[in-house]
Symmetry: C2
Subunit: 215 residues, 2 copies
């Protein structure tokens, strides 16, 4: 099915670890798209309520391929529906998985979260250029980064780090049946308490080079 | 206490992951000592039964510093004793921890296993050049490597991988109270199912460079 060997980096990340910043910077440097959870959520949620085409049209400049994929998907998934089944989380997840697989088949890209490691890793023969990264940090660092990035106080940051990371863990468990923190899901697991985000991006680049994957 | 910033790499590793081979190769390349669990066990166990000096004298060529440290330790730890307390595992562990800390203070080195990450990580101000690596692989890879390295069949390798990794986990739990597989114990966690051992050594070198630690 897929001839070319796209570089596809999935980045699992604890909230506050800086994974999103790392992914974005790396994507810019490599000149590839960065798909984060927001865009994928929109794709998924809106596909069910019918607003996807408008939303995606707005973002055409950056996401032409995503627009093409979403609009080309099978009607029962890609088009608005009043069918009760289509808004079930399982269905949204299947839709989103399809989008992730299509993106990974079509172009080199970085996909943050959304169980990308699981979705693509299960069919690894199809994605020989898949690199599965997880970025984490100790609680102190997670809270400190959240305070800085979200511009909130320590109490609120502590709450947010705890809540969102619990949600991510539950989300992963729910859709994959596996443990978000099981290191067998990943190729490389990086502690951003010990190095800064620029160094983290550099390390991922070094790793890609070692794997012999060309852009 | 310690003025100079030694590079001290601790390598936690699943049995069959190749961590020992990686550590040894890296030590050779960097021109520093590699202390594996065998030498540390000997130091520890023999110190209690009184054979340490003979054993270490035999290994002088490679381990002068280790010899110096062991022979210079406090009598109740470093010297033969018939006291029942001294052969207790807790005492052996304390002795061994002391050896690890002295080694890390004195020279750049690589220490495999033996809860090195925990022992040195707890006093991280003392060891600013500490890099805590964990090397793992999926079960299939662990078994395959064990078959090759230990020259045994699949059934025996499967048994050995399962048994030794369970023991290492229990050992870690017993002496640190923590979980061997808790990624907060480490700076970088590398899956050697995805890259070979030479690439793993190279990645650790890249990481050290990124951390700005000089030999």
């Amino acid at each position: 099915m897929i001839e070319k060997k796209n570089l596809v980096i999935t980045i699992g990340r604890q909230y506050g670890s800086g994974g999103r910043i790392v992914g974005k910077a790396l994507a810019e440097e490599l000149g590839i798209h960065f798909y984060d959870e927001e865009i994928l959520s929109i794709t998924s949620e809106q596909s069910a309520v019918g607003e996807v085409f408008f939303r995606l049209a707005d973002e055409k400049a950056g996401s032409n391929l995503l627009y093409k994929i979403v609009s080309g998907l099978k009607p029962q998934l890609g088009k608005p529906s009043t069918d009760a089944d289509i808004v079930k989380p399982e269905n949204l997840f299947r839709f989103q998985s399809q989008v992730i697989k299509e993106l990974a088949s079509e172009e080199s890209c970085i996909i943050a979260g959304r169980c990308g490691d699981y979705i693509l890793g299960r069919e690894k023969e199809e994605f020989p250029g898949l690199v599965k990264i997880f970025v984490y940090a100790d609680t102190e660092t997670l809270i400190k980064r959240t305070m800085e990035v979200d511009k909130i106080d320590e109490k609120e940051a502590t709450k947010r780090v705890k809540k969102i990371n619990r949600e991510r863990k539950e989300y992963y468990r729910y859709y994959t049946g596996g443990n978000w923190e099981d290191w067998n899901n990943y190729d490389l697991i990086i502690n951003t308490s010990s190095i800064d985000l620029e160094q983290t991006a550099k390390l991922i680049k070094d790793y890609i080079k070692l794997r012999g994957i060309e852009l």
